[in-house]
């Protein structure tokens, strides 16, 4: 099994090289743990090369147990072949709400910078948060996100995930768009508009809405 074991490790090394050089790692790993990718690439390559060089010492025949272990080991790589650009969409957003907010992920900015979906969503939780973030009615904003239809939104909401560690911990931020038009779930839009109140939440009154392609980095910075 030694050469098959080395092949499995080499498969992962190549996958990490691809994630790193293509920039695709941004889908899976957050900015705080981005160092994992080059670190893992180098270590995996060294271990895979070492395992290949050492393969001659051990028995070389494969058995069913070994092959099942090998397929299990490389299963995520096979999953990436099947689903090359996986994404968290409207269904994941609906699944990941319920008492949590992406707004708590970062310290509140001074209120002078550009607002994000996360800021506006978090501002809806309290007046103090809104004041700290500079979220006020009438402020102009330009936001990008994908369409979802949460219960609190009339037409639709603009949503985007924030990620700290990896996709496993990503949380959505959603803001209602006070639009007469509607779009299907997971449609990416760029919305320019003005902040308004809608019930006990902040919303966007759009002045222009444009379909866009999904950004390379689909998460809020």
């Amino acid at each position: 099994m030694t050469r098959w074991r080395a092949a499995g490790l080499l498969t992962w090394a190549i996958t990490f090289w691809w994630l790193w050089l293509s920039g695709s790692w941004v889908r899976f790993v957050g900015p705080r743990t981005a160092w994992i990718v080059p670190f893992g690439t180098i270590v995996l390559t060294a271990v895979a090369v070492g395992a290949w060089v050492a393969r001659a010492e051990g028995p070389g025949k494969a058995n069913l147990r070994g092959m099942v272990t090998l397929l299990t080991f490389v299963a995520p790589v096979l999953l990436l072949v099947l689903v090359p650009e996986p994404r968290l969409g409207a269904i994941a957003a609906a699944n990941r709400t319920g008492g949590l907010t992406a707004g708590g992920m970062l310290p509140a900015p001074g209120g002078d910078g550009e607002l994000s979906l996360r800021d506006i969503d978090y501002a809806s939780t309290s007046a103090d948060s809104a004041a700290l973030l500079g979220v006020v009615e009438g402020r102009e904003v330009e936001l990008e996100g994908f369409v979802t239809h949460p219960d609190f939104a009339g037409a639709y909401a603009l949503t985007r995930f924030s990620m700290w560690c990896c996709a496993a911990d990503a949380l959505p931020a959603s803001v209602e768009v006070l639009d007469e038009a509607d779009f299907t779930d997971d449609t990416w839009l760029r919305v320019k508009g003005v902040i308004r109140r809608s019930g006990n939440r902040y919303a966007i009154e759009p002045t222009s809405t444009t379909r866009i392609d999904e950004p390379r980095d689909p998460y809020e910075p």
Partner: protein, 352 residues
Amino acid sequence: MSIDLRAAEPFVPSSHQRSLRRGLWDTERPGAVVAGAVAATIALAVAGRLLGVAEVALVQSFAIVAVSIVVEALPFVLLGAIVSGVIQVYVSDERFDRVARLPAALQMPVAAVGGIALPVCECGSVPIARRLIARGLHPAAGLTFMLAAPIVNPVVLLSTWIAYQGREVAEEMVLGRALLGLLVAGVTGWAIGGGRQPASQLLREQDPAPCSCCSGRGKGSIRSLADHVGREAFYMGSFVVVGAALAAALQTVAPRSLLTGLSGDIIPAILSLMLLAFVLSLCSEADAFVAVSLVQFPVGAQLAFLAFGPIVDIKLGFLYGATFRPRAVASIALVSAPLVAAGALWFQVMFR
């Protein structure tokens, strides 16, 4: 008529009889096995593409979460395998014998603090602990190291401090995490490994990296080290994949509100976040940033999240299962969970 047994030929089982004895799993049929595995994989991939499986939202969610957990965990598994290999190949039996002769009461604090010197997350500490116990370290000390290292290492404590900066509790959370982690690691290690049972009653029989060529002499070669590391990484990595898949499946189908709906009262909040930590299966070097985002929960519950996740989660459950006997695996969870809950409750009462 008499039969002269001395003249009888010795019985040699046929290849068929040998195969039956070894069983299907261990039979060496490289051609058939490889061809079958490759064909099944190709068939699955083609079928998936034709059926448009890749566009199904649930499949997308599952894929991104599962892959992200493995991408994060695998480098640390490798790091642990490297350290484990170094211990196996380059550290002689004489050195281990000297350490093993020390009483457990001396080995345990050294092992607990040893986590500071080895900044690995929980995926890396498991293979290292296995190797230490197999080489003669007292099981209680090995377990204490394994449970303490992911919490007390400098990278984890620094990331905890950074995450909680601006929340006025940074120092308290760092101190609370370190002390609660050490306490839980020590008590759990002693409760499970403190008896007189040998290591063989704690560890699974199968050593992922058995080697008789170099162990004991402390003079192994780079080639031996490479072989050890490859075997250990491959073995442990496959269990991480299974754990990641289960964690991803749970996150995909179960609404997060099921786990986080109890943020009001402190005890349900603590238990909720311990369960969340178990399901999310995050790496301890970045989980503080997730904990700090759980603003609806009291800091005691957030501390429970930070202390429990590096000790028990879905991914770790499979790693433990690859390393320890089932009773020991269950004991790790059953002993540590109430300790974490009690410590987090005490923290909430005393400091907030």
